[in-house]
Symmetry: C2
Subunit: 250 residues, 2 copies
């Protein structure tokens, strides 16, 4: 059985529309490659009770929870307080994290102020997730991985955190795009889905050269079933005089 | 009191990393303009029990719920079954929706097949949300607004649905970007936040010309508080010899 994962995006800036989130898509691709099923994502504001509620719901439901955002030095960075409360754990200044910050700021006397030292806080018992870019670490507590919100830092943290994740058979996909319209292929597509129940076939309309077109995606851990189902999709498209725009395996 | 809203993105394609969602950001900006507080977003896969669970949790918690995706003609479009079950309502072929489809397809005999007719299904008692682009409508049932996933169609549906939403005082914001680093301004920023408790001040680091910089965003329905807080932020930045990169009111 593949493990399941969820993502909790903590950030008023996403909900206000100021910022377009880029972390979900990065994590989604990495998880698919590792054979971990990405089962849910949530975006919540920087409000303590909302963060605690979501963390507690997600960590019970899924094997892994990633959080992004809210671990910087400013007043609106409240993730660590919230995670500590969600677990009923004391928040401490993590000695190893403090050491990393001291090392990073040692040539800039006075800069490791009280605000920056907050970035060494973790719930008691957390394992650090290293951040070679700016030293302030993320951390793992039980099945919850607390990462930064800035994409470049989130990415190095996610890659470091990968060592703690149990992968499975990679979830492969083949995406066949054609110039037909969903409504014209729905019935034969249902037949193909029913014939290959261990694949997940998705149908995603898009606009190609000003006209509606569709991408049919077959996802599964079973590569041979994937190719058989996708080959039948290609044949079905040709039988309907459709033109294949793209046929990509990932 | 401003009304609250949430968004439920129904889509394996977002969780697989194949597609980058564009609807959240559009809805976020529209809601802020209308003075509706965007309080949570979720992304769930095309799995019945997950959709039902999320819809029921969100519709009890927030004034409005928008869903995107899963209302097309193919086998993986299960949103309407799920919404009907979530409300304990019968799913019916909505006569007015059927009429719209018949009108749209009247010059293309045979194209309004069984699959396309599924796009006229709604829970019993739903009010249609018109879609001038491709005729297949969304709908509103109690406080839940069921919209398409394709951004262009979602947008016309959202705009039509706006007539059913009760707006409030617009949530304005002023964003001041500067070349200082979060950790150097955290303490005075906390003081400003404490002085203006009816504003929400966020601090968002970003990379500017290869160096860390920060955007400080003041959001509130009280424009005079917004400007007072932002003016103090500008003064604080200048006092620390920072350079203002941008100062934008929205």
């Amino acid at each position: 059985m593949n493990k399941t994962a969820s993502l909790l995006i903590i950030g008023n800036e996403i909900l206000s529309g100021k910022t377009q989130d880029k972390n979900l898509n990065y994590i989604a691709k990495k998880l698919a490659n590792m054979g971990i099923v990405f089962s849910e994502a949530r975006v919540v504001p920087d409000i303590e009770k909302e963060i605690i509620f979501a963390v507690n719901e997600l960590r019970k439901k899924f094997d892994y929870v990633f959080t992004t955002g809210g671990i910087g030095p400013t007043h609106d960075d409240i993730t660590t307080e919230c995670i500590s409360k969600a677990f009923g754990l004391k928040m401490i200044c993590h000695p190893e994290a403090k050491k990393k910050l001291e090392e990073y700021y040692k040539d800039r006397p006075g800069t490791l102020n009280e605000a920056r030292l907050r970035m060494a806080d973790t719930p008691e018992g957390a394992t650090l997730i290293e951040n070679p870019l700016t030293s302030a670490p993320g951390y793992k507590i039980e099945n919850v991985f607390v990462l930064a919100g800035i994409p470049s830092i989130m990415q190095v943290m996610f890659d470091y955190a990968s060592q703690f994740l149990e992968g499975g058979v990679k979830i492969s996909s083949r995406s066949v795009s054609c110039n037909l319209i969903e409504g014209d292929i729905a019935a034969p597509l249902t037949d193909i889905q029913n014939k290959y129940p261990n694949t997940e076939i998705g149908s995603y309309p898009f606009i190609h050269q000003g006209k509606y077109a569709v991408t049919l995606v077959v996802r599964t851990t079973d590569i041979s079933a994937m190719n058989n189902a996708a080959d039948e999709i290609v044949d079905m498209i040709k039988a309907k005089n459709g033109i294949i725009i793209e046929d990509i395996s990932e």
